[in-house]
Symmetry: C2
Subunit: 159 residues, 2 copies
């Protein structure tokens, strides 16, 4: 195989280019690098990729229930339990009883959690700026719009 004698940048081979004809594969690869960089960004804060989104939702929706959270995050209620456990354990949020319904937990951020969220949001904003720095603002808007349309369309089709 003399056409690829020893290339460090293996993302530039003919085989790779062939594979990237599929948009789905590109999305996967893009998520891979984003996930990796995001993980490194959140480690110093004691957060993970899987706890950032829940924290964001609770920050924006004080008193949200776990079921509602599972709905927003598109994960099952059983999965929410572990995530809320973790965020509660590190003291970022807390479960509180709800007046009219003893089944439900209302999720609130602690004051420590508020500060943590401020840092996390700034860190992730910087991370995205860094990763997407090649893109103009217009391109950034475009890519987000296109992704949204794909998501909405597919979800509507599932009904």
């Amino acid at each position: 195989m003399s056409d690829t004698p020893k290339d460090q940048v293996s993302g530039d081979t003919a085989a790779d280019r062939f594979l990237q004809q599929f948009t789905g594969y590109r999305i996967k690869r893009a998520l891979l690098v984003v996930h990796e960089d995001m993980t490194e960004t959140l480690v110093p804060l004691g957060l993970r990729v899987g706890t950032f989104a829940p924290l964001a939702v609770v920050a924006a929706n004080p008193g949200i229930s776990q079921t509602k959270l599972s709905d927003v995050l598109k994960i099952k209620r059983s999965g929410v339990v572990a995530v809320v456990d973790e965020l509660e354990r590190i003291g970022a949020i807390e479960r509180k009883p709800v007046a009219g319904d003893r089944r439900t937990n209302a999720l609130f951020m602690t004051t420590a959690g508020g500060k943590l969220w401020q840092q996390a949001e700034a860190a992730i904003q910087a991370h995205e700026d860094r990763l997407f720095t090649d893109l103009t603002d217009e391109e950034n808007d475009q890519i987000r719009d296109l992704l949204s349309r794909v998501i909405l369309r597919a979800e509507r089709a599932k009904e």
Copy 2:
């Protein structure tokens, strides 16, 4: 919470819109729906999302080694073993010894595998056309170009 009384389309709440300010989250959600639809598309062919890409690479690179395959797919050699096992078990590809090197396996598609690949490629092409039908050709090119730049940039930064 009277602002979201009972919406079936939970992807349209304020909470969700807030979360989607992060491009990384949109990518994740997009991959989720793409992955789901792709799975349904491949089931009738006896393939999975995780076996489609390897099959594509072997189709385009007859005689490729497992290590090279792991390099192209960005997964570890140990992970390739299981995938190649599966593709060999369903009779799509086969391991063949290499003349000059008794360590290496050369991967080739069987004739049955060739037909399977033809069907799979067509099915996935239809799947992408269906999912991305809202997008013009130009937008499709754009989104792929933008994703590529994100991927290349992030991978170069890791060196």
